[in-house]
Symmetry: C2
Subunit: 496 residues, 2 copies
């Protein structure tokens, strides 16, 4: 017995000790988990904060939402106003929450959709209700049920139709919502009319408040964002193109190591062009809801920006292939590269200056006087490059001559004497030929961008450059800071 | 006087006649306008109907919405049930309208968001309300107003953070909505607890109903859609590539005129690949909410499909440049084309068969045993093409020999004797060289697709082919009709 007791005692002690270490372990574990979660949370908050610092307009938008909500809740608290809408002021609050969006265009689009959907569905539902109430107690639920089923299905189907989806997607949903609310609720028709009136009134109040806050306090216009995105992408494309050509052909004058990152960023700018299709389309859809702002009219041809974007993407995919070829294994002979460098770099620089001129045209909203000259120059340079390639067998010369060439690069390539022919294996010129012909292909695709921008300038009635020259300077200096700001933001915009 | 009267008479008559013609014109005009509107409406309805016929699942979705709404409105009409939630059954109806989406993933995502947002905001709001009610009548509106402002701003800002935007965008909105509803409404706390309970209960009922209808009646899984989109795009890319190479090099065996449209469609299939980035990303975001379905587990690596899509796009943009070069003005010499046709077409066909094998791998969810061999073959063919190009100066022969070559195309190119050298100007081989080197670039970019698919096969634990060979046959025949259906739909999916 005594022995048993002792054993039990020991066991108990062991248990207590075990419990103690377990407890300690548990506490330690909990601390570790808490610290881990806290650290992660800190990192998350820090990242989010940086996101906001990169684009302060995000902070401003949040403040705007807060202001709009506070304003509409004052309306709720102010008794006479709330009584005026039958105590339904909560609908106004809900409208603000649901309708307030980042860009003014999106806010207006949702507002209009909500008002149209609500009123259309309200009238229809009251009509159906009236018909059903005549049908007697037995028919009433059947009539309402069938009409609900049919209308909800039809409205849902309409959301698949591209034109409706682009403009009235939200409206169709609100239509179903309101129809359900009104037709199902077993109110009498005269009560319904009151309710419909209050609901319309509160929705309108909330909507107007949203539009006012969205448009007056540092407005973010979808149209302007689209404009900045497209013109910024034009610049990026130009930089990428020029950077890539000059890096390849002008390899000898390599940029310094500290500039590597900058030039890499420049080189890969075209990827933004390739990836901005969806953003452009949604912006263009929203922009058409916006009133005239800045230098844009109400019916500014926003769809044209999508077309410009598409033609840019076609160029950018060619540039992507070009950069791929440059990075591939089979290298070109340095001689050939040297021979072609001046003309190729000229083509690249001309392409880039055409693109930049197009961007300037769009920024200044003027018809460029230089554009035609630049395009002609670009085309003739491309022809020259092609001609240079065609005459190449005459150029395959002994290395001795090439050494001479490299010292006098100013000599026009066609001037080279035909003496001392030596064949260069095709292997060594594959890359250069590919790069050159892709450059020519890019030049031919540039036509698409030029045409699209010219169509825009016709549609939007751009003025000839001369007549606005004097105005330009002031406009330029006026717009640039805002634009700069927006341009900085546009990378983050695409990130999100 | 008599004369005057007569004049007046005549005038009157003229006026009457004028009025008559005006009326007739007006009626005619109105008829024309009505007919025009009716015609346009007819066209619109016809188009919409065709949209539905192309993808009957759209019709089914509409019926599902109708069914869900009817079911939830029965719940509203059934008095005991409605009384059980304090007459708040309308919230369940609203939940169904707002939450029901096309794919099961989207429905589940919105459902979970709505439930989480509602409950989180509800608890917070009750807490704030309780604190405010302790603060006395003067402090109460200030505490509530400030907390509303801060929380609404913070929740709005969280919607800009990419990870939250991808998963909890709707939840953040519902959070603000519920917080406003609860904190603004001047109810007492115990009333609030009741209301919160009812609201939670109705939201859950509506949500569960939505999920049941969405998942049980012909469910449309975002994951499966993504899978069909990506594998279909792989096939399209393979077809485009093979079609383009064989059209260019095998021009002599031109397809018949009636097949032109079909082959054009095949050729341009790669454009779908270029344009499906946004669809893929949104599908991948939705798919992760879905439970296991078909052969996909709950944690199927959907993000990997986006990576596969990205690597496909990189190939497709190269193909785009290739097709651009083929359509450009400077034509290649037929001789060179003929010499290179067999090897180039082999590269094209091999590339296509690698892509098709990848698609098969994904469809069968097996690790392919052939893939390594095919990739090796493709790479060695590409090397051969490069080698052929490098040895080309030896190939520039007199036309007499080329005539011989064309009759015995089986002769390996490297066997050509070195006799009778004649130079072909570089001009005539630019295009062929470009096409060949872009082909080689495409082969090198194929590596990205192969790697991405192999990573997928590791992540999703694909079985080795041998062990599932017997199962495969039945699975193949079981899946194909559904897949066919989905594949047909996928073009319309991208359209919308």
């Amino acid at each position: 017995m005594a022995c048993d007791k002792e054993v039990a005692n020991v066991e108990w002690r062991i248990k207590v000790e075990e419990d103690d270490t377990l407890k300690r372990k548990l506490v330690g574990c909990m601390w570790a988990v808490t610290a881990g979660v806290a650290l992660k949370l800190c990192m998350f908050v820090k990242k989010a904060w940086e996101l906001g610092l990169n684009d302060p307009r995000k902070f401003i938008h949040c403040l705007k939402v807060g202001i709009a909500l506070s304003a509409v809740s004052i309306f709720y608290y102010w008794k006479p106003l709330n009584d005026g809408v039958g105590g339904n002021a909560m609908w106004a609050v809900m409208t603000v929450v649901v309708v307030f969006e980042y860009t003014a265009g999106a806010t207006i689009c949702k507002t209009v959709n909500r008002m149209c959907g609500t009123s259309l569905a309200g009238f229809l539902a009251i009509g159906v209700h009236w018909v059903a109430s005549r049908g007697g107690e037995q028919l009433e639920p059947i009539i309402i049920g069938v009409s609900l089923f049919l209308l909800a299905s039809a409205a849902t189907f309409s959301r698949f139709i591209p034109t409706i989806k682009a403009r009235f997607d939200y409206g169709a949903m609100i239509f179903i919502l309101t129809f359900c609310l009104v037709s199902i609720s077993g109110y009498r028709v005269d009560e319904l009319l009151d309710m419909a009136q209050y609901r319309m009134f509160t929705v309108i109040i909330g909507s107007i408040l949203c539009i006012i806050v969205s448009v007056t306090i540092r407005p973010i216009w979808a149209g302007f964002e689209l404009f900045v995105l497209v013109t910024g992408n034009l610049d990026k494309l130009a930089n990428s193109l020029q950077c890539c050509v000059s890096q390849y052909f002008g390899g000898s004058e390599a940029p310094e190591a500290e500039n590597d990152e900058v030039s890499d960023k420049k080189l890969l700018g075209y990827k933004c062009v390739l990836g901005s299709k969806a953003t452009e389309e949604s912006m263009a859809n929203l922009a058409r809801w916006e009133p005239a702002h800045g230098r844009f009219n109400f019916r500014h041809p926003w769809r044209q920006y999508v077309k410009i974007g598409a033609s840019m993407r076609s160029c950018a995919s060619c540039l992507d292939a070009l950069i791929g070829c440059i990075n591939s294994d089979n290298k070109a002979s340095d001689e050939m590269k040297k021979n072609m460098s001046s003309i190729s770099m000229k083509v690249g620089a001309n392409c880039a200056s055409v693109i930049r001129e197009l961007a300037t045209t769009m920024r200044n909203m003027t018809k460029s006087s230089k554009l035609d000259i630049l395009v002609t120059e670009m085309n003739s340079d491309a022809q020259e490059l092609l001609g240079f390639l065609s005459s190449y067998p005459n150029m395959v010369n002994a290395p001795s001559h090439n050494a001479k060439l490299s010292t006098q690069t100013e000599t026009a390539p066609s001037d080279v004497p035909l003496a001392a022919k030596v064949e260069i294996p095709l292997m060594q010129i594959i890359q250069v030929v590919t790069v050159a012909s892709l450059l020519i292909e890019i030049v031919s695709r540039m036509e698409g961008i030029v045409e699209a921008v010219e169509e825009l300038s016709d549609l939007a009635n751009f003025q000839p450059e001369m007549s606005v020259k004097s105005k330009q300077h002031s406009a330029d200096s006026k717009i640039s800071p805002d634009q700069q700001n927006a341009e900085e933001a546009d990378t983050t915009l695409q990130m999100v």
